[in-house]
């Protein structure tokens, strides 16, 4: 009896008295500081992903209200893999990726090295190449829509002037619409890629180049055996962000071609937009969203694996 009586009151009193220990106070304040961001993330990511997964397994015309949601299992996913515009969109996304990632990265690398080491007025070049990136992409798209005008546009007038009688029709021709979009986006984002590379270049120590100088290495040799290998982390960063970015292309296409002509510039995000906000098929639009999410997940995983194997 005695043994029980003595310790019990102590144990019960202690936690009540010291509930707000400095540790707990600190934790409470920490969570309070994080609350706005966490609430935002719960709504916009956690809830949104869960709800989108549910919708992707349902058929729902927005206009019928919440009651109209009809659970249909994997029907949408089956439809997805037999939908010719989706197959076309994935194909276009892949072509667009090939056009807008490796070539701009290579061009930006060369320009960044030249600007960093071999020009006067370095600041001018930084700014000049960066201006399109900060300019409104829609305003820039409007400019290019005029430049690319098939008969009156300055580009084709110039091409005809130098003797090309049948210049490409750019945005209005199924054969060249996606290429035109790729040119516009690459032009607009080149400055960003250059700036990232220039930041990477400042991290390479001069000693390596000096040592190479002593060995009598020429500029090309130095570029290939010092600059490129030392920039690998930067290249990796650009590769992963640009690969993912290429799958998110939307603005220029929504403004200039709406996926046309004849689906030649149709991409997944535009398809989500069209299915959801033009045709109100929220279920199927969510299914396409999950396809997009899946593809981006695969790209992220593959590039990570690539890096770790290096």
């Amino acid at each position: 009896m005695e043994v029980v009586k003595q310790p019990v009151p102590d144990i019960q009193r202690e936690p009540r008295k010291k509930f707000w220990t400095p540790h707990r106070k600190e934790a409470l304040i920490g969570w309070l500081f994080l609350t706005p961001e966490i609430i935002g993330m719960l709504f916009l990511n956690v809830f949104a992903l869960g709800f989108s997964l549910y919708l992707s397994l349902s058929k729902w015309d927005l206009l019928t209200g919440v009651k109209g949601i009809e659970f249909t299992g994997f029907d949408n996913y089956v439809k997805l893999f037999h939908d010719p515009t989706i197959i076309q969109a994935v194909k276009n996304n892949l072509i667009y990726m090939i056009l807008t990632v490796p070539i701009p990265i290579a061009i930006a690398l060369v320009l960044a090295v030249l600007i960093q080491n071999s020009v006067f007025f370095k600041d001018y070049f930084k700014v000049a190449f960066f201006i399109p990136y900060i300019s409104s992409i829609i305003a820039v798209a409007a400019v290019w829509s005029a430049l690319f005008h098939p008969s009156l546009g300055p580009i084709n007038q110039f091409l005809m002037d130098i003797g090309i009688s049948n210049p490409p029709k750019w945005l209005v021709d199924p054969k060249t619409s996606l290429l035109s979009i790729a040119i516009i986006s690459s032009w607009a984002s080149l400055g960003y890629t250059i700036i990232i590379y220039m930041a990477g270049l400042t991290n390479i120590s001069n000693e390596m180049y000096e040592a190479a100088d002593i060995d009598g290495a020429g500029p090309l040799k130095k570029f290939f055996s010092i600059t490129i290998p030392m920039l690998r982390p930067t290249t990796f960063f650009l590769l992963i962000t640009m690969l993912i970015g290429s799958f998110k292309v939307f603005d220029v296409i929504a403004y200039l071609t709406e996926g046309g002509p004849n689906n030649s510039s149709m991409v997944l995000v535009y398809r989500i937009y069209e299915e959801g906000f033009v045709y109100h098929n929220m279920g199927y639009a969510s299914t396409i969203s999950w396809l997009l999410f899946g593809i981006i997940g695969i790209i992220t995983a593959l590039t990570w694996k690539m890096r770790n194997e290096d």
Partner: protein
């Protein structure tokens, strides 16, 4: 001798790169020159870089005070971009402070959680976001766009990177003096972070100003339109009147150019910071 040769090659490359940069900027030069022209002169070839007949007053009057009123889009864009930027600064800097200077269990868990959300593309959650906005009764309001863009994990990470570099001793010394976290955050951390906060503010402002997708999805009424969305109206109302369209494009870009040229160091360094460390 070697120095002269080095400078010679540098000069040659500068000339070559200068020419390249001009070719690169031609679309924007053409845009500005078109904004000065009469409609019929815009597409004349060879291009008149400096127009013979100038119609700039009419063009700007039509764009700014015409039936598609640019001043309204301007006002809307400024309002949304400024409010969004301020809220983003508050939310992201508070999170970054908690993630670096407040010691508690679960901090790393939150950090990893946020990190993993970064791979979720906005576009994949477009549909549920739209439904959320409708259920909150925010559809067709500026609040919808602000709500969609005010949370930014990217900037939280940028600020976190910067705050890691600030010695914990500042915080510990203030704690010993009896200051609470709110006070330390406001009177020590915020002033120390001024340069990076300025960078975040400029970049966020530019991105929000240029956003097309959110206004396209969440706004219905013309008088709520932002500038990028307003550009669509010009395209529809002035088809083939490229003088008007280019005047609108110039008007859309000018504030960004002013911000950028005045603060280019912060913008460029901020972008580079995100690329190297983020």
């Amino acid at each position: 001798m070697q120095l002269i040769r080095k400078n010679m090659s540098k000069a040659i490359i500068t000339v070559f790169m200068g020419a390249l940069s001009i070719v690169f900027l031609i679309p924007l030069v053409w845009m500005v020159s078109a904004a000065f022209k009469y409609e019929k002169d815009v597409m004349r070839f060879p291009i008149q870089w400096i127009p013979e007949k100038i119609n700039v007053a009419y063009n700007f009057k039509t764009v700014w005070m015409g039936k598609v009123p640019f001043y309204e889009f301007y006002f809307n864009s400024f309002k949304i971009a400024i409010i969004t930027t301020i809220i983003t600064l508050i939310i992201s800097s508070m999170s970054a402070y908690a993630l670096t200077k407040i010691n508690f269990k679960g901090r790393n868990f939150v950090f990893l959680g946020l990190l993993s959300f970064m791979i979720i593309p906005d576009q994949a959650t477009l549909i549920p976001r739209f439904l959320l906005v409708r259920w909150f009764g925010l559809y067709n309001t500026h609040a919808a766009i602000i709500f969609m863009s005010m949370f930014s994990i990217y900037f939280t990470f940028l600020l976190r990177q910067f705050m890691i570099g600030i010695s914990d001793e500042f915080v510990e010394a203030a704690r010993i003096d009896g200051a609470g976290h709110v006070k330390i955050f406001l009177s020590i951390m915020v002033p120390l972070c001024k340069p990076v906060l300025a960078t975040v503010a400029i970049i966020k402002f530019i991105w929000t100003w240029n956003d097309y997708q959110n206004p396209l999805i969440f706004l219905l009424d013309r008088d709520l339109y932002t500038i990028p969305l307003g550009m669509t109206l010009f395209r529809d109302d002035f088809t083939n009147n490229y003088a008007i369209m280019m005047t609108a494009a110039v008007s859309a870009i000018i504030p960004l150019l002013i911000v950028f040229i005045a603060l280019q160091k912060q913008v460029i360094n901020g972008i580079a910071l995100g690329g190297v460390k983020g």
